[in-house]
Subunit: 363 residues, 2 copies
């Protein structure tokens, strides 16, 4: 088995069968309920029960040693020839019931690009930005699995004017599904132990709604209609680490890692069949570990199934922007019927894709 043959976790409904949590290997899938019921995945009762659940939350709740033990058993089963099923015979379901969803804003280039569009003449980067990974809570219950069509939202696009958004955008992001934590902060050097795995995220945004509503409490209805995540969660263990970019000055100590790491996910944004941009997640100013340390420094507990995402991953050059707003300089938005596909690869490992077609607004 090579690095490219990594396992990823998800939930599928095979044609004519019950939904099951599943392991994916390339384009083949192993739904885990049947082998678990046959005793082929060991006799740990907690694990057996977790495998019977309709989402990965109970498995994630068991913690990292259980994730690793299960991965070992699944690999063994595959090695001894247990049959896999073609992915094409399965419907992919939302793998995790998202507990809380936090979206960061960790790309300096995205902040600068947007600042120029939205606040021309004013400093794009606020005073706090280089001191902490700025973020906010998004709506957890409208996180949907890749492939789900997304209906164009309505909202106040201008004072008092309710209409379907005329500025529907995508945001290309990398997301992290978390395991539980005891109450108390997650140290920046401990972050890896609390990350179950990595996904791609499209944080759909209605820019006209967002722009009118966001002062002073941040984005709300401009984002809360839908957020798409990829169906398969790649364990952090499977991914090669990269060196983060240098920060402009050392942040507070709780954000200083002894051995800083990040992921270099090569991302691709396709709209209407055309690849428009190729940003890389190693360009992010803040690292995943810094985001997680910051998010919990106030004592906020992590829950199995929390999702945090990087925010739009953008570069400064044309062809590297992470949103259509940046690509089109505020002149191009998503049309009804258009399909967005985000893809990602980290070293040898495909992170899969997150796909979504825009549906016409409700009447």
């Amino acid at each position: 088995m090579t690095a490219a043959d990594h396992l990823a976790w998800g939930v599928v409904r095979p044609t004519g069968a019950h939904a099951s949590i599943a392991a994916r290997l390339g384009d083949r899938v192993l739904p885990l309920r049947p082998p678990a019921e046959a005793g082929l995945l060991g006799h740990d009762l907690d694990l057996r029960h977790a495998i019977e659940e309709p989402t990965l939350n109970a498995l994630i709740e068991l913690g990292r040693p259980a994730w690793r033990a299960l991965a070992e058993r699944v690999r063994h089963l595959i090695d001894v020839g247990h049959p896999l099923m073609p992915l094409a015979f399965c419907e992919e379901l939302l793998p995790v019931r998202i507990a809380d969803y936090v979206d960061f804003y960790a790309s300096l280039e995205h902040v600068e690009n947007f600042g120029r569009l939205w606040r021309p003449g004013q400093p794009a980067v606020h005073e706090n930005w280089r001191h902490m990974p700025v973020g906010y809570h998004g709506r957890a219950s409208t996180v949907v699995v890749g492939g789900t069509p997304v209906r164009r939202p309505r909202g106040q696009v201008a004072p008092g004017e309710l209409a379907a958004t005329r500025a529907l955008d995508l945001e290309c992001e990398v997301g992290f599904v978390c395991g539980p934590s005891a109450r108390g902060p997650v140290a920046v050097d401990d972050a890896e132990r609390h990350i179950f795995g990595v996904v791609l995220v499209n944080d759909w945004s209605a820019r006209d709604i967002q722009r009118f509503e966001y002062v002073p409490l941040g984005p709300f209805l401009g984002k809360s209609f839908a957020t798409s995540m990829s169906a398969w969660i790649t364990p952090l263990d499977a991914l090669p680490r990269a060196t983060p970019r240098a920060q402009d000055f050392a942040p507070a100590e709780y954000l200083r890692a002894r051995e800083p790491w990040t992921l270099d996910v090569a991302l691709e944004i396709e709209v209407g069949g055309e690849v428009l941009s190729r940003p890389r997640s190693s360009w992010l100013y803040w690292t995943p570990a810094q985001m997680l340390a910051h998010m919990t420094v106030n004592g906020a507990t992590l829950t199995a199934g929390d999702l945090f995402a990087s925010g739009t991953v953008s570069g400064s050059e044309p062809g590297t922007e992470g949103s259509l707003g940046e690509i089109g300089r505020g002149e191009r938005w998503l049309a009804d019927g258009e399909e967005v596909v985000l893809r990602g690869r980290c070293g040898d490992v495909e992170l899969g894709e997150v796909r979504g077609q825009v549906l016409t607004a409700a009447p």
Copy 2:
């Protein structure tokens, strides 16, 4: 049975027994699992299963007819003499696993009071504010039941300076626990059907952390360490309606109710044994139905167990402010060991209290 004898819903653990969802009547409680198992609450299987759950979510999921049917059966059981248990013999647990938590900012006086403190010389009320109930998503997984002590959070209280907050505040709010909705907006005239009940909320806030972090994505760590809600949820049906205050101009049509209503909850803020303020929720500029209609106008689905809160309820007169920051004009904050108690009464109906003591920050 008088209006004062309304039922409220919660979850309790009676001394020496299992946790159970429960109905409360005054200072007595009926844990519902034992009578449900004895067949005394009807034979509807969905309802039986919902009563076996550790939170009210499954009951709420069943929808308003089921809530009303269960209330009728519980009242009947009490009328025919089924014994109740003193509330003092029960531990109160978090009644609902909060799906998403949205906090609004619906008090004009709170906005004006805070604007004067935080942005002196600038207009306190932003352009969007009179057009829509401005709000944001808070952290759902750190909503705790009243009585839970709250540890003073740490965070960046100034650029690069991690410290325990020196500006810990309370916010006195009214909260609404929601039932499910089909995908699609909840019409302002339909809001009542989607509200399971009413609670009191203390949206604890670390003002120094919040102030440094909140531009441009809104409050995050200054709020996410803890939000307290009262243990008992009073059905909306049990509460008398009041006439909302006049709005400065008619908002967009989706926010215009045919028969506008609000609740006039007489609130009381006690800190360290002293009542400091008495705001009323009928002073809010935006009504609960407007908040719910706005929150879903973009198509965002409601989930059983969603909580939305009004934001701080403030008046303009001394003795009517809804936060300690306003009461003390930015000079007084919560001390370690101090206990905050919020109380509320709506007409004849006691909404109970939400209590929380401040614990010293973690070392």
